[in-house]
């Protein structure tokens, strides 16, 4: 298996190379003036200023020169300056990715745990009340536009009840977190707070991350629930499950030992993709809750035609996808002993 993992990881540079070539190719469809628009907030007073900007950033150089310069820079560990984030791309990723990762973890775990559990309960109690209720619950979640659900919970839990808040931290907590007295180990506020033994900041961070995590979870529960349910329904009708029942095993053991692990394979596939989606950032949720992560960063960069930032974000996304797929493959072999990775 180690060999397999190494081989798969060796593909990574190739994937990233292909990705960067594709993006550079697409950028050529943009006129240098369109790319210079990133550096002006409006029509410049002096039209010559646009030409000056084009020269300054080398926007009119041949594509291979622009690509080569970028490649040389990136091999020196410099992803360039993000105009969108007003900091180096690498630094922006170092700040925004942990934020997204934190949100992904706080939503992914409930999505998988609760989604799977509900799906399996629905399948076991096929066409019973639990099944119907779970399906209605999931359909409602699935059909809620994220921004509507997000704004609803924001209005209820923040504007009305003031239990939870938008943003990442309250002002008092932010003042501590960004001071020298606080060490940011991971960039994830909840974990850093615990590592610094600042439980009040942990509670504050949780009160900020709860609503976006809930919003993401509610929308995605439906997906996992339906996949888990249909897969479980299929599995419990298999011969070997009937055999297990026939030989007198308790129902609990039949379900937990024999049926469920096999039903988990599609869940692992979808879960892997879902996690990649979450890690790439969730634009609408991040926007509604003013939660600054990769999604908001990527969307703003794209709107600004900020090529440097987009390239950095795309490389990260590519790497994540390769790694996540690898993890899913490894998970398959764990869930189903018949699958062997070679």
């Amino acid at each position: 298996m180690i060999n397999y993992i190494i081989r798969r990881l060796l593909i990574l540079p190739l994937v990233l190379f292909g990705l960067s070539i594709m993006i550079f190719g697409m950028l050529q469809a943009l006129d240098p003036i369109e790319r210079a628009a990133l550096y002006v907030t409006s029509v410049p007073k002096n039209p010559a200023a646009l030409q000056q900007i084009i020269q300054k950033y080398g926007l009119n150089k041949p594509i291979y020169v622009q690509y080569w310069n970028w490649l040389v820079r990136i091999l020196h560990g410099n992803l360039g300056w993000s105009k969108t984030a007003q900091m180096p791309v690498l630094q922006a990723i170092k700040i925004y990715f942990p934020a997204t990762l934190e949100l992904a973890l706080w939503s992914f775990i409930p999505i998988i745990v609760i989604g799977t559990w509900l799906g399996i309960q629905a399948a076991i109690h096929h066409d019973k009340f639990i099944d119907q209720a779970a399906r209605v619950f999931s359909i409602i979640g699935y059909s809620f536009p994220t921004f509507v659900f997000g704004l609803l919970v924001l209005m209820l839990f923040y504007a009305k009840l003031q239990w939870f808040f938008p943003g990442r931290l309250s002002n008092w907590a932010s003042a501590i977190v960004y001071s020298d007295a606080f060490h940011q180990y991971t960039g994830m506020m909840t974990f850093d707070a615990l590592l610094n033994f600042r439980f009040n900041i942990f509670v504050d961070a949780i009160r900020h991350i709860f609503l976006p995590a809930l919003t993401l979870a509610y929308v995605d529960w439906a997906l996992i629930l339906r996949v888990a349910r249909s897969s479980m329904l299929e599995v419990i009708q298999q011969d070997y499950v009937r055999t297990a029942r026939a030989k007198g095993l308790p129902e609990r053991q039949v379900i937990n030992h024999h049926a469920r692990p096999n039903a988990m394979i599609p869940v692992a596939t979808i879960g892997g993709l879902l996690l990649v989606g979450l890690l790439n950032g969730v634009v609408i949720t991040e926007t509604v809750f003013n939660y600054h992560g990769m999604g908001l960063f990527a969307a703003t960069a794209a709107l600004n035609f900020d090529a440097v930032s987009i390239l950095g974000i795309a490389l990260l996304a590519g790497a994540l996808l390769v790694v996540a797929n690898l993890i899913v493959d490894v998970l398959y072999s764990y869930l189903d002993p018949r699958i062997r990775l070679k």
Binding site: V43, K45, L50, W106, L151, M155, Q162, W163, Y178, H292
Partner: protein, 674 residues
């Protein structure tokens, strides 16, 4: 799945649930609540939208989501008494005053850095001494001598000297980054046609000799550390000179400190290295050291900028009657950049935000919260006893929007904005708008009343020309176009355009595209209203309303490829010069791409030069009025509206006032208290 895994899953999920519940029940957050709330009778406040000052207000409208209405728990007590939270939109481009040219930066700069003089409270035309104590202007209007205030300290503890003042101006002019504000400072010293330091000063005036050009800069602004004066030597008299010097680009920095940060040492031979840096390579990009009442605490890009009170602030006497003095009243200012309206609104509802930026289309959501409504003179009336917010309305803004006509559209490589490119009912020729009848017809076909009522809720005035209300040369009784479909039809009938087979424009009809920047619904509505009325006048008149992203639009503007399009302008400095140049001068930001008739262009250029080169206010007013009238007679553009601003704040906020120069984009936090 095996049992142990199932157990661990259960444990994790229980932990997640428990921690969330614990968090939810954790009592109020650490917001300090103080049981006092002196609801003031007089008080304003401000917010900051983001548009580049002095530049077209072309990028806009960041949000688009509907907001479910909910009744907020009314904030009855002052929240965070020592902190002021401004929930707004926009990210500063740079914290270097010489570099920055947008209102989000300006909002921070005016509170940390200072200028020689400052607007006299609400006045946009009168100034009070700030870092200068007084000034003398020579009789020929070409020499300005400023007496510099003694005893002023920068935030790092160093004393302000006349050399710092002169250095600040030199540094700005030499830096002159592409697309930046320094053209404003260069023109009085190097000539009215100067747009950039490198191109127009170094190359044209000094044959590429950077050292000589930098020496000329140092000769244009001289200092005397013994007599505490700084003298400006102008190339020609310059009417709006004092206005320019109150802008953030003329902020005073500390020379030793800038050098310490890696900046220019003041030697002419080193100047070239410090010209036109990228934002991030500029030594003052993210550090600040001014003489102002607030200091930079931290900048979390994309999230917020925090300012803290400068406890050793120099000012002991108010700059105007009843104005603030001594250290600022509020300890900490948090300027949040929240692009999503629903989130900003929720912060305002809970009282977390003391001030909120509201786009016009969301006014109706905030209005039920309003307790008292005030005008620009802070005359307030209580409108809703249970409300918690204060609204200022009818504030005269210094922005205007215009529909531009291009009299010679660039058709290189084809241009589908003109349809077929000829008078055949499916297009227009490239010089369609060179016919004054057509331009007048479009003017008569625009329904200002409907536009102002529907889009601005009545809070805007019709623009009469490039010069806006409140400026020299503006006459409210000046002749203007009004909505009149009969006159519109008559003007179209009078057009000299003919189809290839000799039929009139009226009988043939036309097709063209009107362009606006995507996301700006106000500009889309203007196009829709105009298009509908054109169709009403003649079913053969088709104008398609097309949205373009800003980057594409920019390319089309500078490529002169659009026949008719709508843009806005936010003034750089409060003077008609900053309106007539971009709109009427040859090479102006907008007029440079519109191809006005040559003789008219020459006439307007001469008038503009005359107007700026005199300090005689009466004479200037007359010339500007003449220019305003020329723009009407020739129907050069369709002057649409000058909108009025609104401002929302919590009732506990005290001390806000409206100055059109700051608009609702910049707040002088020093005047505020809670």
């Amino acid at each position: 799945m095996s049992k142990p895994i199932r157990k661990s899953f259960l444990i994790i999920s229980m932990m997640v649930a428990l921690s969330m519940i614990a968090a939810a029940c954790g009592g109020p957050a650490a917001t300090t609540t103080v049981p006092t709330s002196p609801p003031p009778t007089q008080a304003p406040a401000t917010q900051a939208p983001t548009t580049a000052p002095g530049q077209p207000t072309s990028t806009t409208a960041p949000e688009s989501t509907a907001t479910p209405q909910a009744t907020a728990a009314p904030p009855s007590q002052v929240k965070n008494p020592n902190t002021f939270i401004d929930a707004t939109i926009g990210e500063p481009e740079s914290l270097d005053p010489a570099f920055a040219y947008d209102t989000a930066s300006g909002n921070i700069l005016i509170n940390v850095y200072q200028t020689l003089l400052f607007p006299n409270k609400e006045s946009a035309t009168e100034f009070v001494p700030m870092l200068a104590t007084s000034w003398d202007i020579s009789s020929d209007g070409m020499t300005y001598t400023f007496h510099i205030r003694q005893g002023v300290k920068f935030q790092d503890g160093q004393d302000l000297t006349p050399q710092d003042v002169a250095y600040s101006f030199w540094r700005g002019m030499i830096q002159d980054r592409a697309g930046g504000p320094q053209w404003i400072m260069l023109q009085p010293f190097f000539g009215l046609d100067v747009q950039s330091f490198e191109g127009d000063v170094v190359q044209k005036q000094f044959n590429g000799d950077w050292t000589k050009a930098a020496q000329a800069v140092e000769q244009a602004v001289t200092y005397d550390n013994t007599n505490w004066t700084v003298t400006l030597h102008l190339k020609q008299p310059y009417g709006p000179m004092l206005q320019l010097l109150s802008g953030t680009w003329a902020s005073i920095v500390s020379m030793p400190w800038v050098i310490q940060q890696g900046g220019w040492d003041g030697k002419p031979e080193d100047a070239q290295k410090f010209h036109d840096p990228a934002a991030e390579q500029d030594e003052l990009f993210k550090v600040m050291n001014g003489t102002g009442p607030y200091k930079l605490d931290q900048w979390l890009p994309g999230q917020e900028i925090d300012l803290v009170r400068n406890d050793s602030y120099w000012q002991t006497d108010p700059l105007w009657d009843g104005g603030p003095s001594g250290p600022a009243q509020i300890q900490r200012i948090v300027v949040q950049d929240i692009s999503e309206w629903g989130t900003r609104f929720a912060e305002f509802q809970t009282g977390d935000a003391d001030m909120v930026y509201v786009d016009t289309q969301y006014d109706s959501q905030v209005d039920p919260m309003v307790k008292e409504t005030c005008d620009a003179q802070v005359n307030c009336t209580e409108t809703n006893h249970t409300g918690t917010a204060r609204l200022f309305k009818g504030l005269p803004s210094v922005t205007a929007t215009t529909i531009f006509f291009n009299q010679q559209v660039n058709t290189t490589g084809g241009n589908n904005r003109l349809g077929s490119g000829q008078i055949d009912g499916n297009g227009i020729p490239a010089d369609f708008f060179s016919d004054i009848n057509v331009r007048q017809a479009f003017n008569y076909c625009f329904d200002w009343n409907t536009y102002i009522q529907q889009v601005f809720n009545g809070e805007a005035v019709q623009a009469l020309g490039p010069i806006i209300q409140g400026e020299l040369g503006y006459d409210p009784n000046q002749a203007a176009y009004s909505f009149d479909l009969t006159k519109c039809a008559d003007a179209f009938k009078a057009s000299t355009w003919k189809s290839a087979d000799g039929k009139s424009l009226w009988d043939t009809g036309f097709y063209l595209q009107y362009t606006y920047n995507v996301g700006n619904d106000q500009r889309k509505s203007a196009g829709d209203i105009l298009a509908a009325d054109l169709l009403k006048v003649n079913p053969k008149f088709h104008m398609e309303v097309v949205g373009e992203p800003f980057a594409l639009e920019l390319k089309d503007i500078v490529g002169s490829r659009m026949p008719i399009y709508m843009l806005g302008w936010l003034e750089d400095y409060h003077d008609p010069q900053d309106w007539v140049v971009p709109f009427l001068a040859s090479g102006g930001t907008y007029s440079g791409f519109q191809h006005f008739p040559a003789d008219l262009q020459t006439q307007m250029d001469q008038l503009i030069t005359q107007a700026v080169s005199t300090s005689d206010t009466q004479a200037r007013a007359k010339i500007y009025a003449q220019l305003q009238n020329l723009s009407y007679e020739n129907a050069l553009d369709l002057w649409v509206v000058q909108p009025q601003d609104r401002h929302y704040e919590q009732t506990w906020v005290k001390g806000w006032y409206y100055n059109p120069i700051f608009g609702n984009a910049m707040t002088y936090y020093y005047s505020l208290s809670k």
